[in-house]
């Protein structure tokens, strides 16, 4: 771990402020120095970032572009069937190679000097080659390839050779992720929603179980809680996972079209997983959702909600999933719209010099945590303050 002057300054700055993971100093949400260190230690550090699902690029030559923190990423389904992740930067002078969000490509050509890369990331050709130094080798100028591991179709990427193996990183959250992706990961892409949330990425990432029946008055109007189950948080990263059986909504007349909440599938496993640092995976009713996200500086977070069906779906079931997805768990959905507002209002107080405090279920052993807890998030906060060298 580096001990740059900035890191030492930050350690000094927070030495008396972050001694307890249940009391989070709010200035960490608006500190630009800390943000630079987060990009280095978290987004380019030893964490596995799920950046795509195979269903988004199902055929050889399909690609998707995205971001890991502020690093541009190109994800390509190779002609050998392997999905790889590259920096989306020409290995020559650093032009962003592909600017479309998704598509299919035989090769990737940089427009600046017409260098051409294969779908496997190899440099295939560069004009003016005879004038290059005689020791120039194409193999030294391939796209920078990042480590990837695929699990249930989900493509995890890390820029850090020191990252632990994926199973150790995910811990007990790993099986929950697989279950949310219907075990085999044989999904189909139903579409996206994109939103900009005006809050620091760590606030967006800090949702809890305590708020659910309180903020979301819809549950009271509907006389429905969605299902009861268990919660856990992994050590040391603090991935939080909820497992429950979906309890069907019994129409109480509140909705004119109760199909918004109808459960028409056969797989009643409900799963809500918060993978650190910044990806959420939800399987609720018939909706399967991966929330990819990236920070846009200290005060905005861009969220890409990707929705999926299963290859075995009938067209009618896929349409039902899409209708439910659109209006329930997205940025303008019946339930999630209120979370967005809560995140933004939390961010708005970041300059008051005070702390956020966690109390619900704090002090209890993990096997005593209730589903309406907020203590699970403090595992991440403990990890965060240590990994950022703030204590």
């Amino acid at each position: 771990m580096t001990t740059s002057p900035t890191a030492l300054q930050l350690k000094h700055r927070y030495a008396d402020r972050f001694g307890d993971p249940t009391q989070v100093p709010k200035e960490i949400f608006i500190d630009p120095d800390l943000y630079r260190l987060e990009l280095e230690r978290i987004f380019m550090g030893p964490y596995w970032h799920p950046l795509a699902h195979r269903a988004e690029l199902p055929n050889p030559k399909d690609f998707k572009t995205t971001w890991m923190g502020e690093a541009p990423i190109l994800i390509v389904h190779g002609e050998d069937g392997v999905i790889r992740a590259f920096l989306n930067s020409c290995a020559h002078r650093g032009v962003r190679l592909e600017t479309r969000t998704s598509g299919s490509a035989d090769e990737f050509q940089c427009p600046y000097h017409r260098w051409v890369y294969s779908t496997g990331g190899k440099l295939e050709g560069a004009p003016g080659r005879r004038e290059f130094p005689c020791d120039f080798k194409n193999s030294d100028f391939g796209l920078k390839t990042l480590r990837t591991v695929e699990m249930a179709g989900l493509i995890f990427v890390t820029a850090d050779p020191e990252a632990p193996d994926l199973d150790s990183f995910l811990g007990e959250a790993g099986p929950a992720v697989k279950e949310a992706l219907i075990d085999d990961g044989q999904l189909t892409l139903l579409g996206y929603q994109r939103a900009i949330i005006h809050a620091n990425w760590k606030i967006y990432n800090d949702n809890d179980g305590y708020h659910a029946p309180l903020l979301h008055t819809a549950f009271r109007h509907l006389n429905w809680q969605g299902g009861g189950g268990s919660v856990g948080a992994t050590q040391p990263h603090g991935h939080v996972y909820f497992r429950y059986e979906v309890s069907p909504y019994v129409d109480n007349g509140f909705l004119a079209d109760p199909s918004l909440l109808s459960f028409e599938g056969t797989d009643a496993r409900g799963r809500v997983i918060s993978l650190k640092p910044l990806v959420g995976i939800t399987k609720h009713l018939d909706t399967i959702n991966i929330r990819f996200a990236r920070p846009l500086g200290i005060d905005k977070t861009e969220v890409h909600y990707a929705y999926f069906g299963h290859v075995s779906d009938t067209p009618e079931h896929a349409r039902h999933r899409a209708l439910q997805a659109s209006n329930l768990l997205g940025p303008s959905g019946l339930v999630s719209i209120e979370d967005v507002s809560a995140f933004e209002r939390t961010h708005q107080t970041s300059g008051d010099g005070w702390v956020e405090r966690f109390v619900r279920d704090v002090g209890k052993e993990p096997d005593e945590w209730t589903q309406q807890e907020e203590v699970a998030n403090t595992v991440w906060w403990d990890h965060y303050r240590l990994s950022m060298g703030l204590v």
Binding site: T101, S102, L189, L190, G191, Y192, Q193, R194, A195, I196, I197, H198, L215, T217, A218, H221, F254, L255, A256, D257, L260, E302, Y307, A318, R319, A322, L323, A325, S326, N327, G330, P331, S332, L334, I337, E338, V340, S341, A342, E344, R345
Partner: protein
């Protein structure tokens, strides 16, 4: 603009669009479903997703009951827990087409909407277009059979209200 549209029909269309705009900017949402026919849809989608044919939308109200439910969410569910903002819808009709035998008129309009939150400067919420199918009943009434809002990019904030 298609010159086969008679001036009475054009007036009906213009009235529908301006009344709708007045309704949403003034948050008269109880009247919002009345702009639609009994069988109807209201959708908000991003252009790229629309072009690729994805099913999911930012808003996907596939029938009139969903419109009624949306009004209920705004009035009864979200009232105390979301941030309010004012809007101004500015639109311009760019295409009107009607087959000679049909009582359905296809209308496209460019759209820009500004938003203003408490204590904040005004800004652009969305840029995009409306793609409408308007049903004429022959007795001087026009309603949306479908209204699809196609957004050029990501809205500047989460959408609390229909566009």
């Amino acid at each position: 603009m298609n010159t086969s549209i008679d001036s009475a029909t054009l007036r009906l269309i213009e009235q529908l669009l301006s009344d709708y705009s007045h309704c949403v900017d003034n948050k008269l949402f109880e009247h919002w479903p009345d702009f639609f026919t009994d069988e109807c849809s209201y959708e908000v989608r991003q252009a790229e997703d629309q072009e690729k044919g994805y099913l999911v939308g930012l808003i996907f109200d596939s029938n009139r009951n969903r419109l009624l439910d949306r009004v209920k969410f705004m009035r009864e569910v979200w009232e105390g827990s979301i941030e309010h903002y004012r809007t101004r819808h500015v639109y311009q009709i760019t295409q009107i087409t009607q087959s000679t035998t049909d009582s359905i008129v296809s209308v496209e309009s460019n759209l820009q909407v500004t938003y203003t939150q408490a204590e904040s400067a005004s800004a652009v919420l969305v840029s995009g277009c409306y793609i409408d199918r308007v049903q004429l009943d022959g007795e001087g009434s026009a309603k949306f059979l479908s209204r699809t809002v196609v957004l050029d990019g990501i809205p500047a904030r989460a959408l609390n209200y229909p566009l």
